[in-house]
């Protein structure tokens, strides 16, 4: 097919979408703001404003004795290198500066406090309401969902809970076997369907099993999915809906984020929250050298608390998140 034609079509079809954005913007947001309307134009819009403001140049070095620009630059680079992101880095530095620290050490301490304070106060406990309580575990591909579930099951078992695992990743090759292996190691029942089965029905079946066998927690493993794939996000929403419609209390929806992920993590949190109302984050692979600083942005912007950290591949490598310890580790040279 002639490339020319392809271009024309894509453009015009996209332009159809695009034109509608403009129409909506021109017809003014006032009315639609007061009454959100599910129309064509409304579907497209909402302009995200990036903070594109120019920052004053921070120039200079960290271990200097003076609190000079070199120091601020070094501090900025430390935050950026931890994946905190340009916006939050700028905010944090501004807040530190506003405290007028006298020495580099004082500035570092102030920054640590700022980060810890801005993250503390959140409820980081795992909620297990309902009988059984349901924990839904979600995230993009390969972040550590299944491993985290094994670790959680171990901890819950140690605390005296009776756990059932739902292998609702019916998509990825051998995902069920992976969870089954963990289940066998932990002596925790795993409910699975056929490969390609409807994940919601697997989750539902696990719920029934838990009720029958008087287990008090169901942990649902789901297939990894990129947040930009709408149909897969809808599938996730359906799992939650089906569980709730059948009287389950989905008391935790944990988004598992790979600690090595950069700024895309924020988009992940936004999209998964929109789909399934994420209640907490699990930040994995922090046994490496990645710092997972994007989580700070997620807490600040979206108010979703980090609840647990993954610090290894073993069953005990899941630790509750402590903002102070985290802030300290973040600024470690």
């Amino acid at each position: 097919m002639p490339t020319e034609t392809a271009v024309l079509i894509v453009l015009l079809a996209l332009v159809a979408v695009v034109a509608l954005v403009l129409v909506r913007r021109r017809s003014g947001g006032a009315a639609s703001r007061s009454q959100p309307n599910p129309t064509l134009a409304a579907a497209v819009p909402d302009l995200r404003r990036r903070l594109g403001r120019t920052r004053s140049a921070l120039a200079q070095a960290f271990r200097r004795s003076a609190l000079d620009e070199a120091f601020w630059e070094e501090l900025e680079e430390a935050l950026l290198a931890a994946d905190v992101g340009t916006e939050v880095t700028a905010e944090l530095l501004a807040e530190v500066r506003a405290r007028h620290p006298a020495t580099p050490e004082a500035a570092r301490v102030a920054l640590e406090e700022l980060i810890a304070d801005s993250m503390s106060g959140a409820d980081r406990s795992l909620h297990l309401d309902g009988n059984p309580a349901v924990i839904l575990v979600v995230g993009v591909n390969g972040t550590g969902k299944t491993t985290t579930i094994a670790k959680l099951a171990k901890r819950l078992g140690d605390e005296g809970h009776r756990v059932v695992l739902a292998a609702a990743d019916t998509f990825r090759a051998a995902a069920v076997e992976q969870l089954r292996t963990w289940g066998a190691r932990l002596e925790v029942p795993v409910v699975a369907g056929a490969s390609g089965a409807d994940p919601a029905s697997v989750a539902f079946e696990a719920l029934e099993t838990a009720r029958r066998e008087r287990a008090d927690v169901v942990v649902v493993d789901t297939a990894g999915r990129l947040q930009s794939k709408t149909n897969l996000m809808d599938e996730l929403a359906k799992i939650k809906r089906v569980l709730e419609r059948n009287g389950a209390s989905v008391s935790e929806v944990l988004l598992v984020l790979d600690g090595t992920t950069g700024q895309n993590a924020v988009g992940q949190a936004e999209a998964f929250r929109a789909a399934v109302d994420v209640t907490g984050l699990v930040l994995t692979k922090l046994d490496g050298t990645a710092k997972g600083g994007a989580a700070i942005a997620i807490e600040r912007r979206l108010g979703i608390p980090v609840k647990e950290l993954g610090v290894g591949e073993g069953l005990d490598d899941l630790v509750p998140f402590d903002p102070r310890a985290y802030a300290e580790a973040l600024l470690e040279p």
Binding site: A13, L14, A42, L47, A174, T260, N264
Partner: protein, 447 residues
């Protein structure tokens, strides 16, 4: 081509097109914003520094092309430098002097090694090279089963041994491959952190025994600043020959590509663009550079379009658009087709200048789905001729789609507006200032 970043470059240059040579002040002003753009795309902060150093050197004193503003001129140089850093041309797999070609796939946990190994085997099979897959990830539960499942799906044998240690297993696998006359061997290894001494030692041992032609580091496109450390670690231990960037079907900008490439100096040989076995593509540095800078990516858009449309359908749709007889029925049809090409947000992002013309358009697919519901609740006649839709029809459509009659109203009104714009477009005028429409260029070409 440079609108998105140019917009961020702000008012500093605005109207000054083709004003002689770039001054130091011009360049520094522009580079401050370029720096932010690169950092937001997850290019490592140290890499950004050295990159901008190179750009600065080239840019100061450079001539500003007539059609560009100084800001755009700087961005153009940045783009060129990114392409150069990413490695100019595509890089194929090496051809060994004698078969089998041995490929070792390495990387962090969860980066996509197993899937990539299977895709590679499938690719090699397509070339008639009779590949063998080797399941040398003996650590993660069910990793072997995962590869076996994939192998069965693509009809490629999988060598495994649950009881052996990885280096020994690889040795056996190679022996087997030679005697069975396999033309290629793809070894999937366990994910490991580059700072895990035991596992890195094991990797070195595997490498020594396998003596591979290719050692490919699999890097998740969503990786942040850490990409530099990972690439360094694996380069040292595993003696990499190339990189594979995975999960590019997502919306990550993929700055990790620059970081890993800059640190290793090794070419990016493939990119993973989906979970399907065919979703492995050769790497195009220029497209990646555009993506990282948030510029349009028309080539990819065209490729996707060519896959989603057959010729006849394409012509039919194009005709309608050209004659501005594009109605709601067509819209529905095109929408479905666009969906097949990928997330709309991503598609729009590929339109050069879309960002600048529209602000950062955020397509809410959820709401778009409701729009679809409204259109679907109309009869075919209603879609073709919305004038038919009176009060009672409106109520029926609203009820059918779970919306309100005023929503139906708004949709009809907005579509009428959009149709007008499309008419303008069909008439060769670009109704959206700033949107650079290739093929209908502002001056180059008329339709």
């Amino acid at each position: 081509m440079f609108e998105t970043l140019s917009r961020r470059l702000g008012a500093a240059f605005s109207e000054l097109r083709g004003k002689g040579r770039l001054t130091e002040a011009d360049v520094d002003e522009a580079l401050r914003n370029v720096r932010l753009a690169l950092l937001e795309a997850d290019v490592n902060v140290a890499v950004v520094k050295s990159l901008l150093g190179r750009v600065r050197e080239r840019a100061v004193g450079a001539e500003v092309t007539k059609s560009l503003t100084p800001g755009q001129q700087v961005v153009k140089i940045v783009h060129e430098e990114l392409v150069r850093t990413l490695g100019g041309a595509t890089a194929p797999l090496v051809r060994p002097a004698a078969p089998p070609l041995v490929v070792l796939v390495v990387g962090l946990q969860g980066s996509g090694k197993t899937t990539t190994a299977a895709k590679l085997a499938h690719h090699l099979r397509g070339e008639g090279r009779r590949p063998l897959l080797v399941a040398a990830d003996l650590r993660r539960p069910a990793a072997i089963e995962q590869l076996e499942t994939l192998g069965a799906r693509i009809d490629v044998p999988v060598f495994s041994d649950r009881k052996a240690k990885a280096p020994k297993l690889v040795k056996q696998a190679l022996k087997h491959a030679r005697s069975a006359g396999h033309g290629a061997v793809v070894v999937d290894t366990a994910g490991r952190l580059q700072i895990d001494d035991d596992l890195m030692t094991e990797l070195a041992a595997i490498r020594k025994i396998a003596d591979p032609d290719e050692v490919l580091l699999v890097v998740d496109a969503m990786t942040g600043q850490e990409a530099v450390n990972v690439a360094e670690g694996f380069l040292e231990t595993a003696d990499l020959t190339g990189l594979v960037l995975t999960k590019l079907d997502g919306d990550a900008r993929g700055g990790a590509a620059i970081s890993a490439r800059e640190v290793t100096g090794k070419p990016i040989k493939f990119v993973g663009v989906g979970e399907g076995i065919d979703d492995l593509e050769v790497f195009h540095p220029d497209r990646m550079a555009s993506r990282i800078l948030g510029m349009g990516d028309v080539l990819t858009l065209i490729e996707k379009a060519e896959r989603a449309y057959d010729e006849e359908e394409a012509l039919r749709a194009a005709e309608k658009l050209r004659e501005a007889t594009f109605d709601l029925e067509d819209f529905l049809e095109q929408l479905q087709r666009l969906r097949k090409m990928g997330p709309l947000q991503q598609l729009v992002g590929m339109l050069p200048g879309a960002g600048a013309a529209l602000g950062d358009v955020d397509i809410d697919e959820r709401r778009l789905a409701r729009v679809e519901a409204i259109i679907r609740s109309m009869t075919r006649e209603e879609r073709r001729n919305p004038k038919l839709i009176d009060g009672s029809r409106k109520r029926r459509i609203a009820a059918g789609s779970g919306t309100r009659p005023q929503d139906v109203n708004a949709l009809l009104k907005q579509f009428a507006e959009a149709q007008k714009m499309m008419k303008a477009l069909a008439g060769g005028r670009n109704p959206i200032p700033g949107l650079a429409l290739p093929g209908m260029g502002r001056s180059r070409r008329k339709r």
